[in-house]
Point group: C3
Chain length 169, copies 3
């Protein structure tokens, strides 16, 4: 292929060399798994809200529980349902970890650490997130949730420090 | 341009071929719109806090409502203002969706799905986020907020599954 | 190097030209600093939970405070500990800002604005996040936290608007 041809292919094709790279295939898979897991938790909150008839606003009760008495709605809005709050806490912990992983995982992959190192860090993180979610939602006795959280963040800290060494403040 | 010349341009220019790509122009626009929308919600929370004189810490009351009685501050800190909480819930839903979109949208664009498919997914997501925010803040009756949330996540799930197929666990 | 050689190096090497670019070295450093700061806040929450024996679920009390009376556990679960909530609020503000910065900072760097402009935006943002965290956790009197938050978001808005101009809806 000539120069112009390749430049054009890159411009049109959106960095095919990224997709063909094994490290990026790992990144793509783990990023999507974690995002899909997080969206599952979002829908599980919706499910728990309907199962417990516990919503967050007045218009939710009007739309989804129209037969409920006004006093009951007021009471429900003032208190928290522990089942719904459990899923929300689980979701919040995802928000504290997954978006950071999505970026630090990509940057770490760009520093060329080798497929095995990338694979180890990504698998540990994803497995820990799944353990964390299961520990929260089933629930499992501690310290399973704590281990899921802390080992997952250690994988992130390891990636962040290795990446930071390639950077410049 | 010769080999060295192009390599140098890439190194110096920060991947101009990415910027010239129509799919990335779509990504850049939708990413920024969603981020700006989210920052708007953050400032709307600040506005609602000042409008309702409802802050989250003791030092906020000392700094921004110095004339308020100590007992009133204590009472205000112990309770939640529904107007402020509404904006915070809206913001939290953004946090549950927009950072994930920012990554999955980029990865999906990298898988070369064609401009039309990218455009459709991004427009649906952004439109749904705007509908969701308006439904929460005006507010609009349900199921407008629920549709904004669920159709937006469906767009993300579609992108994540298509991207995942290019990956490797 | 011949064509095939370079293509192969790019495929194997994961975009070395990105790593060798000064703008990306800035991005990498600031991204990692902000992520590590956010993970520090996560662990500080854990520390405050243990220091105040205040956990979020029944199984936490069973696992980490087994000697506590059942009635005390129930009471503790129903109320909020202000020290723990302070760290959680600080963390939430990070979630509202850092993931958005991680994406908009990268996109802004890709638009080729020059090293000085990138460096200014990134340093302002990172410094503001550190000021915000210190203001929340020490705490410092207002308006230090408000300035940390608002100047940091202004840096993001500036980057987002400049990037948006390169995009296409």
């Amino acid at each position: 292929m000539n120069e112009t041809g390749r430049t054009r292919e890159m411009a049109a094709g959106g960095s095919n060399f990224i997709i063909e790279n094994e490290v990026f295939q790992l990144y793509i898979a783990h990023a999507c798994i974690n995002i899909l897991k997080m969206i599952f938790v979002a829908y599980y909150t919706v499910f728990k809200r309907f199962a417990n008839k516990t919503f967050s606003t007045k218009e939710d009760y009007e739309g989804f529980a129209a037969t409920m008495e006004k006093d009951d709605v007021k009471k429900k809005l003032a208190e928290c349902n522990p089942e719904v709050e459990r899923v929300r806490s689980c979701h919040r912990n995802d928000l504290e970890n997954i978006p950071a992983f999505l970026v630090v995982g990509l940057l770490y992959a760009l520093t060329n650490p080798g497929v095995d190192a990338v694979s180890l860090h990504f698998r540990v993180f994803t497995l820990c997130r799944i353990i964390h979610t299961m520990s929260y939602l089933l629930p499992l006795p501690q310290p399973s949730r704590f281990l899921g959280f802390s080992v997952g963040t250690l994988s992130m800290v390891s990636m962040a420090i290795q990446t930071l060494l390639m950077g410049k403040l």
